[in-house]
Amino acid sequence: MFNFNKKLKIFSLVLILLGSIGVGIGFLSSPSNVDEALAMVSSSHDSNHDNYNEVHNNALDYHQEKPHDDEHHYDHGKHVKHQLQNRPWASIFVAAFFFFMIAMGTLAFYAIQRASQAGWPILLYRVMEGITGYLLPGSILLFLFLLVSGLHMNHIYVWMDPETVAHDEIIQGKVSYLNIPFFMLRALIYLTGWNLYRYLSRRLSIAQDNAEKGNIKNYKLNFKISAGFLAFFFVTESMMAWDWIMSIDPHWFSTLFGWYVLASSLVTSVTVIAITTIFLKSKGYLPKVNDSHIHDLAKFMFGLSIFWTYLWFSQYMLIWYSNIPEEVTYFLTRIDDYQLPFFGMIILNFVLPLLILISSEYKRSNWIIVMAGIIIIIGHYIDIFNMIMPGTVGDQWFIGVPELSAFTLFLGLYLYFVFNSLSKVPLEASGDPYIVESKKFIY
């Protein structure tokens, strides 16, 4: 049984505390005093606008060169104000979604192993269950975030703003799907379904350990609900990606977006499983996990990195080639304003994992996997950043206090809940009928 000792507890609580302070600073330093900012932008024009620009890194040169009438100017100022206001919210969303996605992807990976009755990963089941321990707190936080957005406390989703929709025929056509009550209801359905599976499967998994020898009723039932969950999950995950992320750019759509988010989620999850396993092994737990188990996880890291790149490129190339205005704006924003994260991410998520993990000897070496894993995690954090920021913050982005502290805050929460759930039950699923196969597993 994992010992969630004081040192780790304090470490994760310190992360939460530091993160909360940083997030608070982020909210205070953005033009959070709405009235003042509005007055600043709307009362006068050029003088205040210039001050405004100076404060915010002169990022608006491009707009200033354009001649514009008062109304346009006002709209523009409001737009910039919204973007700056969005920054702390969007950075929270990136972090909340990223850590939620790790738990979600791990849950899917776990269900795949259960449904395929795989022999090798049984020693890792408790590690995966530990990581999905963050699913419930992560879901609640994310749902609260969506609720707050639905209550118009931020401008992450432009389609939630009735004034915008009134002037936008494209969004008007989507109102029957993109409206706040239905959006919240869908979120509730996805999250309830996933958490329900997590709860039941975890309970059956523990019950199997305590069952008498030869009685595999719990195991069989777990197999059935895992298969059912997967059918539910792959549909709802796609819809989740449309709802929560793709609708940030409500004019743009991509049919493979759900799989793209799934690929990102799965590769991050497998990486986190590998790193957690290596961490636990270094502390003397999981004595039966050998380097063949690690090797298999590393193969998944390698393969899923390439799968992610395949989907990224499929999406990019088709839009680049057809060059249709309403589609191509999505990538134009990213290439113009987000050049470094957008292309840097390809190096972190594809080139480096490909070259580092291609050798089968390196896939069995713990420190190389941890290094590659850190690269993959950073890369996919930037991937989520690139999905959410351009539609919410636009060219006002910067990786500063709000972004880093949102990451710290959620990292702390994540570590706390994962360690907590790892410490609850023995780390070996000893009742599983295939446990011997996993113990004897050699590649």
Partner: protein, 176 residues
Amino acid sequence: MDEKLIHAVYDDDDVLLSAVKELRNAKYQIKDVFTPFPVHGLDEALGLRGTRLAVTAFLYGILGFSVAVAMIYFIMIVDWPQNIGGKPSFSFMENLPAFVPVIFEMTVFFAAHLMVITFYLRSKLWPFKSPENPIPSTTDDKFLMQVIVKGDEDKLNNMLTKTGAVELSMHKNESE
């Protein structure tokens, strides 16, 4: 060489694997093992060196990548630039997305084909070559192990029977 070989036939891969381990522990020399399918852990049990085919595959991939880049650069930029969908046709970098599929396929093509050819050359396989396996059933359901006889023949025979061999036969070591 006037060496003798014992051909021991097994009908189960797990039995074969433990027999290999036992014989190697008893310092017997195993010349070769014929199996109808790859047996997990057999190469390790036989003490075979790891394959270097992976390294060649990586090099062939790099070769394919370079050939593809050079080829597509010559065809699409130098020799005959075409206006396709209004894309800039005189720049390799600005057209890169369109070339990536070609480069990818050529990399895979080179790596796969050259690796297979290398494998055949290295294992001395070519079309119409007469098979090396002593009994044809090693391509069906039997496993055959060739042990070089050293010291007491009966002792070895007994040992092989004990490990679960279903058939034993004596042969001359002809090759090499």
